[in-house]
Symmetry: C2
Subunit: 216 residues, 2 copies
């Protein structure tokens, strides 16, 4: 019988990687123990919030002595499913797709790219950062054969929905969408939008508000 | 006297670009009018939420007839400060920095890259996507001369804080941070983290929760 996994709130999931980064820093400094207070102080967060986030991973720290750094790293990575590398496909080897394939850090995040796909015949049959580029027509079949469950989409907006259908046909269950377009998927598929430009919207507006408030 | 700008909630700012994308689709289809209900339906959001978000931009639609598409596009872009191109610097011309410079769409988001910076002497003096690469030592002086207020950081994590100091010295006020590291800045500086890997954390965990709940 499989244990039921409790749903973790999204804001918590967004903070956990920040904690991981700080914990790696501590590891480099050879620190063995960390308290939720010190994490909260460094990252400018509320201490109770940090403690609640960490509790979600199922770890139990001692209030006074704190957490063992190595164990906390392991538990957060386990919670995010980053301890086991997940094979992934990427579709669209333009500038963004190429950058993603070249970004070594994804291995830290548990993602292992096994194949890339593109519609451009000049790219098909070549390698990008050591990964072979195949035609999109092969995607569904290859996803089934290789049992790949994660797909990254970095194609032009008007091709994104078609690529989504191909992924679902091949049994892909999680889609990381870098295209500024809402994808239509059945309920059993998880889509996460990379929020590239949403983040820029926050920056440009907040900057405008700040400069205006100073000029009053 | 400058009119005081009301602070817009971050979730609203993250949704406004989604509305924009949908509105551009309508424009292509030559549709002139849109209701908050149709936006909500297409994007899978609550209608009241959409109406409240749109109200933030100061536009007043008629409940029955809806909004003029062109006007709504203009008002959202105005609200996000995307109607006027803002000059920006980017520091770090690795794979991610190069991808960003090559991403034509940033012009739609009001960002105009005028110079790039890197520590690598092999890159300095060359052009990336038509943009000159300068040594980081020139950043502060050039930011002042060119009156640039937005900086994008795509350097390795251990160099990010130093680059931040150089930007602030040069009068840069808004920093778009792609480095998985918390930057320390004075209160008058706006930092927005691109949340690249945070978004991946949501995907990998939600996928795990979904697959587990089916295997029960």
């Amino acid at each position: 019988m499989t244990k039921l996994l409790k749903a973790t709130p999204k804001p918590t999931l967004r903070r956990l990687p920040q904690y991981l980064d700080f914990l790696y820093t501590l590891k480099i400094q050879d620190k063995k123990i960390v308290t939720s207070k010190s994490i909260a102080d460094v990252l400018g967060l509320d201490q109770t919030q940090v403690r609640k986030d960490i509790e979600q991973t199922g770890i139990t720290g001692k209030p006074k002595t704190g957490f063992v750094v190595d164990e906390l790293i392991f538990r957060i990575r386990e919670h995010l499913n980053w301890n086991n590398l997940s094979d992934a496909f990427i579709v669209g080897v333009g500038s963004l797709g190429t950058a993603i394939l070249g970004y070594e850090r994804f291995k830290h995040y548990g993602i292992n790219f096994v194949a890339a796909f593109d519609a451009d015949e000049n790219k098909i049959g070549k390698k990008v950062s050591g990964i072979n580029v195949y035609p999109v027509s092969k995607l569904a079949q290859m996803a089934k054969q290789l049992e790949v469950h994660i797909g990254v989409i970095t194609v032009p907006a008007d091709a994104a929905q078609e690529v989504t259908y191909e992924m679902i046909k091949g049994g892909i269950r999680g889609i990381w969408n870098f295209v500024p377009k809402q994808l239509i998927v059945p309920e059993n598929i998880v889509v996460e939008n990379a929020q590239f430009y949403q983040s820029l919207a926050v920056l440009t507006r907040k900057l405008r508000e700040k400069i205006h408030s100073e000029n009053k």
